[in-house]
């Protein structure tokens, strides 16, 4: 466990902990990051990541709430759109880390508490606007 912590920079780890709950969520984000000019439908994301459409919907909505992707309607589509350049840089770093140290990153995600528990804690955080 200590080894894993040393392989990934602290600020990338914090970004991961705050914004990514599952491996499909990470892969969705990175997939969209690699094609920043493309609009993604829920069905696209579902089939590309081998997840069901309800899970893809959950994932995309979560990424949108965290200011990583933007959404447009009719039809409902998403696009990689980080809130600012710092975030964009963090995603780029995360992409590199994932490329080079895949097992370290996935281990970090799986060692984390479930999304439900994290959302429970977030419910009491009045500062963040979810």
């Amino acid at each position: 466990m200590t080894n894993t912590r040393n392989e990934i920079p602290a600020y990338v780890r914090r970004f991961l902990e705050e914004n990514i709950d599952t491996v499909p969520q990470l892969e969705t984000l990175l997939m969209m990051y690699e094609k920043p000019d493309r609009d993604w439908l829920i069905a696209d994301v579902a089939s590309r990541n081998y997840i069901t459409e309800p899970r893809a919907t959950d994932t995309l909505n979560a990424l949108q709430r965290r200011g990583l992707v933007s959404v447009e309607e009719s039809p409902r589509r998403f696009r990689f759109n980080p809130a600012n350049d710092d975030v964009r840089g963090l995603v780029a770093e995360l992409a590199l880390c994932y490329q080079r140290k895949l097992s370290a990153v996935t281990e970090l995600i799986h060692a984390k508490p479930s999304a439900s528990i994290k959302e429970f804690a977030r419910a009491f955080d009045l500062k963040k606007d979810r």
């Binding site: 999304a115 439900s116 528990i117 429970f120 419910a123 009491f124």
Partner: protein, 88 residues
């Protein structure tokens, strides 16, 4: 009276937790938040009942009902923790 003050505080604290959790459930739809929110709503009600029991209807004894509501509320929470807390 200490008892009254504590029960009012209890109603407020539990009520606050209920509001925060149910509001968050409205956004993120994680069922753990629903069960926990309902639990705190029930605990708030149970606390409020004390005030009713002792001051508004002193001729009736609502103790059993207060306990029943609190017990139901806690069962909802435990259900949520057991079955929904590992839901990602």
């Amino acid at each position: 009276m200490l008892q009254l003050a504590v029960n009012v505080l209890g109603t407020l604290v539990a009520g606050l937790c209920a509001v925060l959790l149910l509001r968050a459930y409205g956004t993120v739809r994680k069922r753990l938040l629903l069960w926990a929110g309902l639990c705190f709503a029930g605990l708030a009600a149970s606390n409020a009942f004390v005030v009713v029991d002792l001051f508004l209807v002193p001729e009736l004894d609502l103790y059993r009902w207060r306990l029943g509501v609190a017990a139901m509320a806690m069962l909802l929470l435990v259900y949520g923790l057991v079955f929904e807390s590992d839901q990602s």
